[in-house]
């Protein structure tokens, strides 16, 4: 087998591989600690979210999208879950009623996973937040 400019190519590959794996070297092979989510007393008492825990973990984003479309576009505001219970379709009034600790529930995991750039709370009211916090959000006042 013949490889022209073998030295340059192999050196290039080594540099590429080194660059590509920088995050691993940088982290020193350690993983950052998984965030611990805290449930409110109300949520713990309910025992189960609108759907089983595993499904909520995996598909809550899809469920929220479906809820949004059902309520806003179709006017269907009653959700009968696979567990047979009925819920009012509302992020602000149903989800956040139980999960009223957004900072210790939504935010912890979303921050850890790097999906914190959602704009739900630009309009929907976050129960943990007081009105005074908003003052900083207006850029042109």
């Amino acid at each position: 087998m013949m490889l022209y400019d073998a030295g340059k190519i192999i050196a290039g590959l080594v540099i590429f591989a080194a660059f590509f794996t920088v995050p691993f070297w940088y982290g020193g092979g350690k993983t950052s600690e998984m965030p611990k989510l805290e449930l409110t007393a109300q949520a713990r008492q309910a025992g189960q979210c609108v759907e089983p825990k595993e499904r909520m973990r995996q598909d809550h984003m899809q469920l929220l999208d479906d809820w949004r479309d059902a309520a806003v576009r179709d006017g269907n505001r009653t959700y009968t879950s696979s567990t047979g219970k009925s819920y009012t379709v509302s992020l602000q009034n149903t989800c956040m009623d139980c999960h009223s600790n957004k900072d210790k529930f939504c935010d912890r995991c979303h921050g850890y996973m790097g999906v914190s750039q959602l704009y739900c709370w630009d309009c929907h009211l976050d129960p943990t937040e007081e009105k005074t916090v908003w003052a900083s959000t207006d850029g042109n006042s």
Binding site: M1, E51, R55, D59, Q62, L63, D66, R68, A70, V72, R73, D74, G75, N76, R77, T78, Y79, T80, S81, S82, T88, V89, Q92, N93, Y119, D122, C123, H124, L125, P127, K131, W134, A135, T137, D138, G139, N140, S141
Partner: protein, 270 residues
């Protein structure tokens, strides 16, 4: 070496087949599991339903109540409508308009004195043929099939303001500023907050939604409920026996700019 093009294509093909057949590929390509669940959506029990919601505003009852703004205050408080404190940025769901502005084609210098300079209560007309819906490039504004209400999906609004140009009634307002902000004096634009309803954010258009969220709970629109003088009547235009149809049968009513072909659903007894 015996590794020619033919050999390479063979190996590549077999590898591709093996790849597609692998478990990972199956999991990647199979449809989502969500459809498989038995969950379902339905309209709320006890919700108010109609084929075509409409409103009759009796100005003979409204005009004598000079300075009354009950309907406006209630609506704007329940829907977290901010007060930016200047007319240019004003957000309006329901407001007052002089007769000449509300009904420009009916204006005449010899108009009855009692109407001439009097403020008329105006709101979105929830047209049967809404121009705002037609121009919306993202379908953020849409007419509900079930009851004809023209409402918005705020998640979709990109703030292009085509709808504002299209609406002949000025029923749409743009959020030039963040409704959650404060004015130069440090006063919040939203004095009180209804925590059951969202706010909007800077850069979207908003309008009256005929209280879809209240109808779903079996309640009349906020303005109708707030009016102590019974000047606002809400009902089904498609139902022969509804209260609005009774009133329309008995009174002469006018609508705003019907000549434009928008077919408004808000009627005025003058």
């Amino acid at each position: 070496m015996g590794f020619d093009r033919r050999e390479f294509i063979k190996i590549a093909g077999i590898s591709a087949l093996a790849g597609l057949g692998s478990r990972a590929a199956f999991e990647l390509l199979q449809p989502g599991e969500l459809e498989a669940t038995s969950a379902s959506y339905a309209a709320n029990q006890g919700a108010l339903n109609a084929k075509r919601w409409a409103m009759v505003i009796d100005m003979q009852k409204c005009l004598p109540q000079e300075g009354c703004k009950d309907c406006m205050h209630r609506c704007h408080r329940l829907h977290n409508v901010p007060d930016f404190g200047n007319a240019k940025d004003e957000i309006k769901w329901i407001w007052k308009e002089a007769f000449a502005h509300a009904f420009p084609e009916q204006e005449s210098e010899y108009l009855a004195e009692r109407l001439h300079h009097e403020p008329f209560v105006v709101l979105c007309n929830h047209c049967a043929n809404p121009p705002c819906v037609r121009v919306c490039p993202t379908k953020a504004t849409f007419k509900r099939k079930q009851d004809g209400i023209v409402t918005m999906d705020m998640h979709r609004c990109i703030g292009c303001r085509f709808c504002m140009a299209a609406c002949p009634y000025g029923s749409r307002s743009f959020n030039w500023r963040d409704p959650r902000g404060r004015n130069a004096q440090g006063e919040p634009f939203l004095e009180e907050i209804n925590r059951e309803y969202p706010t909007r954010n800077k850069g979207v258009v908003e309008k009256c939604n005929f209280c879809v969220e209240r109808l779903a709970q079996g309640k009349n629109p906020a303005c109708v409920e707030a009016c102590r003088h019974g000047a606002l009547v809400f009902g089904d235009l498609a139902d022969d026996h509804s209260e609005v149809r009774e009133i329309l049968r008995e009174h002469y009513t006018i609508r705003r700019k019907p000549e434009l072909g928008t077919d408004p659903s808000v009627f005025y007894i003058v």
